[in-house]
Point group: C2
Chain length 218, copies 2
Amino acid sequence: MVSQAEENYLKALFHLTSDIPEKTEAGTNELADMLDVTPATANNMLKKLKEKGWVSYEKYGKISLTDKGRVLAVEIIRKHRLWETFLYEKLNFTWDEVHEVAEQLEHIQSVKLVQQLEKFLDFPEIDPHGDPIPNEKGEIRFIKRKTLAEIEESKTCKLVAVKDNSSSFLQYVVKLGLGLSSKIKVLGRREFDGSMEIEVNKVRSSISKKVAQNLLVV
Amino acid sequence: MVSQAEENYLKALFHLTSDIPEKTEAGTNELADMLDVTPATANNMLKKLKEKGWVSYEKYGKISLTDKGRVLAVEIIRKHRLWETFLYEKLNFTWDEVHEVAEQLEHIQSVKLVQQLEKFLDFPEIDPHGDPIPNEKGEIRFIKRKTLAEIEESKTCKLVAVKDNSSSFLQYVVKLGLGLSSKIKVLGRREFDGSMEIEVNKVRSSISKKVAQNLLVV
DNA sequence: TATATTTGTTAGACATGCCTAACTAAATTA
DNA sequence: TAATTTAGTTAGGCATGTCTAACAAATATA
Ligand SMILES: [Mn+2]
Ligand SMILES: [Mn+2]
Ligand SMILES: [Mn+2]
Ligand SMILES: [Mn+2]
């Protein structure tokens, strides 16, 4: 049995240790931060997760998921992204509305439900934010992407995903005229703060470095 | 805020005090029984529900829902039955599989989700077990029904709902050749145990009184 | 009506998951 | 390397929701 709280920790650990290939370990504070709990709380849960064999760590050491833990985490992410896709494709939700509800739906336990949902959606490959949906075996079709902040001046690229799933960020992205598959031309960059001038559908905008780092492009 | 546990108590109380028109009050043991908890646990929760203004009862007295409590309960039942319909209609679940998963899905909090789900299902009136689905205002289209046990000998009736939602019962019902809208002819009844001889699609079966009391007909 | 049975309540305990405050170890900086 | 800062841990407490055991009230039965 995996409780909802435990599932949330496993999912957070997966994001902290697998989303960026170079970063394969996490710390207590970082984890606590992502889950909006205190480090004491995270530490306490880590002991339980270790006890259950889902996490490996030693006192004052770095945290990582075991193979078992990773399997569980991927299952939850799979459900999360399938539900987001369902809400977006079938129930008229916008991409800034899906995440919050999927945070609840991802905890529903039923193998058949997930299988049938995937079939009903015709085996989608990416969710409304451009993130890959793991298949039933837990395999993730990894897509090589850069952040917009890494794109050189005068080059044009295509938005394929967003890192930040918060509704405020997504609404701002829409305001910039952007959506998945949008073409973005990098006009220029101010070196002292990393902010960028971009052009989308002939409309120019200035965006901060932080924003550029949350837009994933190819 | 209504917790999942609280929602389950409200729903159980609704079934105990509104499903049968003559029975408008419930007792602690009865409630505990329905929720598979001890009477002590139910008693403890009742105090909290009373405190929140959802339940009215006095020590050693009978329990009933307040108007506020009833509104909450109907919302949960509405969600439960919409999800059951979704699973049945869209995701290839059988009627004996839907209840268990709906027990989880009914607790998802999102007004938009329920509205859109209902629209997606084209405003269904009954769930896979023949039970009416409350509308957004909380109105329930009440259907007058009898149990098969009340039908006289040699009369024919139509199955419109099942009282017991357990998968074992529903599978047995299917084995009898029955489904919603099936025609049932009452051939005879043994007085000493209330068991009945019935005919469905030219197949005769003998069923216990208990079973007959869980089949709702018109 | 006295007794037995059923129904409901209270007290005390426990697991889960969270907190704050105090502390310790590790890493950084002077 | 010593001092400071950051990261991580421990102790103790609390809310929720559950339990068992003991008890009290209400109801049914003799
Ligand atoms: Mn999301
Ligand atoms: Mn997503
Ligand atoms: Mn049901
Ligand atoms: Mn039903």
